[in-house]
């Protein structure tokens, strides 16, 4: 297996120290990029096969090609550092472990698309990451890796650290832009508001995820060919009932079983029951799917609607887990985080929660199972943005694979598996 590189330097004593970063070969990717025409930088990223690691998995090079290369147009790069998908913690790990890598990726991306201002929308709760980034940015300015005429070239770039304020929906890219403009984080209509065309302040904007930009720094430093030889790795956040929860750097296409093995296997010799492969917005999967490769296409092609790689947040549950309780918790999460802009999401999540509430409190009725499925159906394809559409996949999968558990709750008013929380 290739050596991990994304996670190689996350345990340095002072992650924000510029001298240490330079000594480890840092900013080599930016130096190389600045010696290339911007279009070639984009081509290199394109050739690497890198796809956005925020959840949607859109090819990064292609995203950048949508930005008009017209120098008379102001363009922006915005970093989505609002990591909030349940079970996902790899961006925080990178922010706290290798902040200069992100700055290098930001500078490369900005150069590639012709942006002279970049904004990092950082989740408010990431206090440690904010302190480190503030220091790293100050050091990078001082040493001429940011600011005017970077490293004696004609390229200027300012990086501004902005803040979130507690809203999951702000992770959706157009809602993020609204929030970054100082408004409520309500998603915008796509089309016409594709960020590449009408983004921040209605100007062409590339919105990239933290991990994505860290990949970019490595790709430019070592080349697209080298990157592909490494198996185009991704960071997988593994949590739940495994022996060693953590962030693992695995080749794209590692099976779910392989990922669990990387995290030390199931804890305490317990038995795998189910998992979310890509955050709570991806459909629940059962033991029958353990050999599915964790890549964009294999997960999306399963016979479980809404299965996806997403943010590669693998949440693993053993046989002691009450699936009804877990799905209820998921539904409540989306209910609380719904921005309220569209009816199916705002009302659908409330109705679903009410039904779950009664099932979990011994007041459920058998008809409730059809009611859950019916509300979920009413939310598919009708919500304004992906938040509401994230609810039906797990709900439907749980009704399909764990119907017996729901029925037991409804019949007996009690759970037949160990209650976990």
């Amino acid at each position: 297996m290739p050596e991990p590189f994304l996670l190689k330097h996350i345990h340095e004593p002072d992650p924000a120290d510029l001298r240490g970063y330079l000594a480890r070969g840092g900013y080599e990717g930016l130096r190389k990029a600045l010696a290339m025409p911007p279009a070639e930088v984009i081509d290199e990223v394109d050739k690497s096969g890198l796809r956005g690691r925020g959840g949607a998995g859109f090819p990064t090079g292609r995203k950048w090609k949508f930005i008009p290369p017209d120098p008379s147009v102001i363009r922006y790069l915005v970093v989505n550092a609002d990591e909030g998908e349940p079970g996902t913690f790899k961006d925080r790990t990178l922010l706290e472990g290798d902040p200069h890598r992100l700055l290098e990726g930001i500078a490369i991306g900005s150069y590639a698309i012709g942006a002279h201002q970049a904004f990092v929308y950082l989740r408010r709760e990431f206090y440690r990451a904010r302190d480190l980034l503030e220091r790293a940015i100050a050091q990078a300015y001082e040493a001429g890796w940011l600011g005017r005429g970077i490293q004696g070239t004609g390229f200027d770039l300012d990086v501004v650290l902005a803040t979130g304020a507690g809203a999951y929906i702000a992770g959706e890219e157009t809602a993020l832009l609204e929030s970054l403009e100082g408004r409520r984080a309500l998603p915008r209509l796509k089309p016409p508001f594709y960020p590449a065309v009408k983004g921040l302040y209605m100007k062409p904007t590339a919105v990239n995820n933290v991990e994505t930009l860290c990949h970019v720094a490595w790709i430019l430093a070592r080349g697209a060919a080298w990157y592909r030889e490494q198996g185009t790795p991704i960071l997988v956040s593994i949590s739940g009932h495994v022996t060693t929860p953590g962030v693992y750097e695995l080749p794209l296409g590692t099976t779910i079983r392989g990922a669990i093995a990387a995290a030390g296997g199931m804890r305490g010799g317990r038995v795998f029951k189910a998992c979310f492969p890509g955050g709570s917005s991806s459909a629940l999967l059962t033991p029958a799917y353990l050999d599915t490769p964790m890549d964009y296409d294999a997960l999306a092609k399963l016979d479980v609607p809404g299965s996806m790689l997403g943010s590669a947040a693998l949440m693993v549950m053993d046989e002691t887990t009450c699936i009804v309780e877990i799905v209820a918790r998921t539904v409540e999460f989306y209910r609380d985080e719904s921005c309220g802009k569209c009816t199916p999401c705002r009302e659908g999540t409330i109705w679903l929660s009410q039904v779950f509430e009664r099932i979990l409190h011994g007041r459920g009725r058998m008809e409730d199972l059809d009611l859950l499925a019916g509300v979920a159906r009413g939310m598919m394809g009708t919500c304004f943005c992906p938040l509401g559409e994230s609810v039906p996949p797990s709900l439907n999968a749980s009704l399909r694979f764990f119907r017996g558990e729901y029925e037991h709750h409804i019949r007996t008013g009690a759970c037949d598996v160990g209650v976990t929380a």
Partner: protein, 170 residues
Amino acid sequence: MTPPRLSDNAKSEIRSLMSQFPQSQSALLGALFVAQDEAGYLPPEVIEDVAAVLGLPVSEVASVASFYHLFFFKPVGRYVVQVCTNISCTLEGCGGVLRHLRRALGIDVGGTTADGRFTLRTAECLAACEEAPVMLVGTDRHGRLTPEKVDALLMRYHEHRTPDAEPRTP
């Protein structure tokens, strides 16, 4: 008691945030945190002051502030304790941690202790699932929580201000 107003220092900090953005409204969330850090929460007078500095309608500032979870419109404790209750933490027993905190602090979720030291809240995924169950106390993150560990932490925040425990509302 006279209502808190925004100090000149806070106003100039907000102006410097505004200067970082092509459009000054982009500084609004940051400005509200500057105000909240100073006043402890966001009473109407402080919202008026923020609106005046940014040149925005008070209604707009209040509307934006009310959208986000981390702005407080009533006084909160010196340390806001936020316990993650999302899936990974549920799988690792956050329910027990939360029950223990309610007992130990003698308050329910949303409440503030009589001495004004702690406010208890739940939080959505704090992106630290490798050390679930997780909570934030002020700006410090603590993981692998057990009732014993929670007791030890509460003691620490009760007794003295360690350097990493500077009170700052989230």
